[in-house]
């Protein structure tokens, strides 16, 4: 069973998504083949190889072929972006580890239940700071080669509904899942029950991609149900009000619901259930 640990990350890693994207789009005639060197530069482009952002060959190729317009600006912007990422990682994400380390069965059992939401929110901020920091460093490194890769985050925690949240959180993954899972399943062009099923399936795939554990499946299911619930609500009530109070309350609700899902992401299923039992029942 030892080989499983080596096999799983390879099979579900970021660059597999880029292989799949290239193969699918080539087959569909959506992209030109390019030379072998260009293909290798695309898949082996080290700034984005380990954890994204997940690139598109169509976007990458013109940037690879064109000569950088202004090296000094690329370097200045790239280094600034890398420094920003390092500050987010060290001064925000790592600092919150003091809180998030408590997310284990022993500490949950001993804790005052009122402190538990703070630990979950702490993890929500930490994972955002941590992953967006990594993306900043990757995007900044790519920029120093004169190549602008896709953004991965666009202020996701300020969004007013779960659909907008996912359009702004890990953007390159959301786009990939939309193009290569949701649309091939029929997307929004099928019957209403199938649309809801497609949404849930996509988020289950997203959950499974994040990790091969039951907790990740539950996390994916939670977001699938939130997205399906949001779609149902929009169909029922139409366009939302743009009154500032309504915008603030819906943004707050989205923030709370997203953070309510993180315990399933960062703990195994039994510990996450213990977390909720302690929080809700005591």
């Amino acid at each position: 069973m030892r080989w499983q640990g080596a096999f799983l990350p390879l099979g579900i890693s970021f660059f597999t998504f880029e292989f799949y994207h290239y193969a699918w789009d080539r087959r569909a005639g959506k992209t030109e083949p390019g030379t072998l060197g260009e293909y290798l530069a695309f898949i082996l482009f080290f700034p984005t190889m380990v954890a994204g952002p997940i690139k598109r060959y169509q976007d990458f190729l013109p940037k690879l072929r064109s000569k950088p317009i202004c090296w000094s600006q690329d370097w200045e912007r790239g280094i600034t972006r890398i420094l920003t990422g390092l500050v987010k990682k060290f001064a925000v994400a790592d600092l919150l580890t003091a809180w998030t380390n408590h997310l284990n069965a022993h500490d949950i059992l001993l804790a005052d239940r009122r402190i538990l939401p703070l630990w979950a929110f702490g993890y929500g901020v930490k994972i955002y700071a941590d992953f967006s920091a990594y993306s900043d460093i990757a995007i900044g490194s790519a920029r120093m080669f004169g190549i602008q890769v896709p953004e991965n985050f666009d202020w996701p925690y300020g969004r007013r509904n779960i659909q907008r949240f996912w359009q702004c959180w890990h953007i390159s993954l959301t786009r990939w899942l939309t193009d290569y899972v949701y649309i091939p399943l029929g997307g929004s062009r099928v019957s209403t029950p199938r649309i809801y099923a497609n949404i849930v399936v996509v988020m289950l795939v997203s959950g499974l991609w994040h990790g091969a554990g039951l907790n990740f499946i539950v996390w994916g299911l939670w977001h699938g149900l939130l997205l399906a619930g949001h779609r149902f609500w929009r169909q029922l009530r139409g366009e939302p009000s743009n009154h500032p109070v309504a915008v603030f309350l819906s943004s707050l609700l989205t923030f709370v619901l997203v953070n309510a899902g993180w315990p399933f992401f960062c703990m195994d299923l039994h510990t996450a259930i213990l977390f909720y039992r302690t929080l809700l029942v005591g």
Binding site: P9, V50, A51, Q73, E76, R77, G78, I79, T80, R81, I82, L83, T84, L86, V87, K89, F90, A91, A93, D94, L95, T97, K126, I127, D130, F131, A133, Y134, D136, G140, R143, E151, W155, H210, G211
Partner: protein, 58 residues
């Protein structure tokens, strides 16, 4: 107001190329230098707590 604040943060963080109105010219250069200096100081003080990223080390 909020969009100007956001544009300023994005410019100082290296995400945006175009400087917002307030930071065009000499003031922008001073602001960028200050951001670099502050960032280096913060990195120096806070580094070393972890060497792992969540999305790389599941």
């Amino acid at each position: 107001m909020l969009s100007v604040f956001r544009a300023t943060l994005e410019f100082l963080g290296g995400e945006r190329d175009d400087a917002p109105g307030l930071l065009v010219g000499r003031l922008g250069t001073v602001a960028r230098c200050t951001v670099w200096a502050l960032a280096i100081v913060m990195i120096y003080f806070f580094c070393g707590q972890s060497s792992k990223f969540i999305y790389i080390d599941f």
